[in-house]
Amino acid sequence: MVEKKDARFLVNQILDKVLEKGKISDDDKKVVNQKIEEEIIERPFRVAVIGQSGVGKSTTLNSIFGLTNYTSNLAEGTSEIIEKVFPMRDGFNLSLYDMPGLNNDVDKDAKYEEMYKQILPGCDVVVYVVNSHSRDFGEDCRILKEVVLPICNKNEIKDNLILAFNKIDTIGENIDPNDPELKWNIVENIPTEKLKKAIKTKLDDITDKLLDEDLIGSDEGLKPHQVVFYSAVFNYNLKDFLLAITKAGKRGWIWPATVGFERIGKWSDAKIG
């Protein structure tokens, strides 16, 4: 008989029903419950978020992982990245590594790169956040190609990586900050018609660049689902983000199978960061 405490998460419910229907013995049910307990309770869900200051790491973490009022305030020249553990529900923990982006500073970048090498291999999901409205994300492409992807490939965790283009809501404001037609329609939480065209053009440029740089569409690059476009502030297109997490590596499914659906996209009103 399965104890009630083992049926608290969605994954437990699915397994309980499947094992019951499959006429699996009580002893084997206990083994499965023990193993799933080890998988989701004894080991936190580890996420690393990499990004330059201002790309929206905090809002991303608040929206996607429901970290109420989390603020990313990495000190300049941070030399140590501390694992921050957030209790989610019923013993399931989210472990977060908030990491600075490389920034063309030889000394700091070497230090940060070393941190990436140490930390990324132990993470279930690695999110590299980019500003969608950046005029040129060539430097991000270089960092991904020369630093992040090689680390991921070497440690066989490329499937854990998500390239997250945040702030699609502000693409219009960077074209003409005085044009109200290029601002987000806050009332309906959708882009205006003019902004839709601007977003399409920008995302088209971004995907062209990613293809030209072999970051997607090549054996060395990412799979299409690993690239997501969203607005953390407005909870826009978080479904693609959740799907990318769910598909990530061997343990991405744990997030929606535990508290993901309850947490994602619920906290963006806080607009932290």
Binding site: L10, V11, Q13, I14, L15, K17, V18, L19, E20, K21, G22, K23, I24, D28, V32, K35, I36, E39, E188, N189, I190, K196, I199, K200, L203, D204, T207, D208, L211, D212, I216, G217, S218, P224, V227, F229, S231, F234, N235, Y236, N237, L238, K239, D240, L242, L243, T246, K247, K250, R251, G252, W253, I254, P256, A257, F261, E262, I264, G265, K266
Partner: protein
């Protein structure tokens, strides 16, 4: 185009074929794989701007499918003997999700079993 590539191209609908040819003219250095990825992204971008934001639907079929796959793969890796006893059930759940028979996890848990 190789035979396999031609077969992939033939499976595209007319709009996708048009987009493929447009991108081929625009990026003559791109191979078939890149052109196919670009066609997929062009559709994805259209979807992104045309849908509303808001909270993620907990009954989303794509996420459900990947979640069930993840649980199944975990069981297969961790306890292969037990997996062998239930793999057909997992397969049935996935088929039901993909075919749209199941819309909600509650239904997975109540109707299928």
């Amino acid at each position: 185009m190789t035979g396999v590539e031609q077969a992939e191209f033939d499976k595209l609908n007319s709009e996708q074929k048009e987009e493929y040819r447009y991108q081929q003219r625009k990026h003559p250095n791109w191979d078939h794989k890149k052109l196919m990825v670009k066609v997929g992204f062009s559709e994805k971008v259209d979807e992104i701007v045309d849908k509303n934001g808001g909270d993620v639907d907990p009954n989303d079929r794509d996420v459900m499918e990947e979640l069930v796959k993840g649980v199944g793969n975990w069981l297969k890796r961790t306890l292969p003997r037990i997996w062998n006893g239930v793999k057909e059930l997992f397969s049935n759940i996935l088929t039901s999700i993909v075919n749209g028979v199941i819309n909600f996890f509650d239904e997975i848990l109540s109707q299928i079993f």
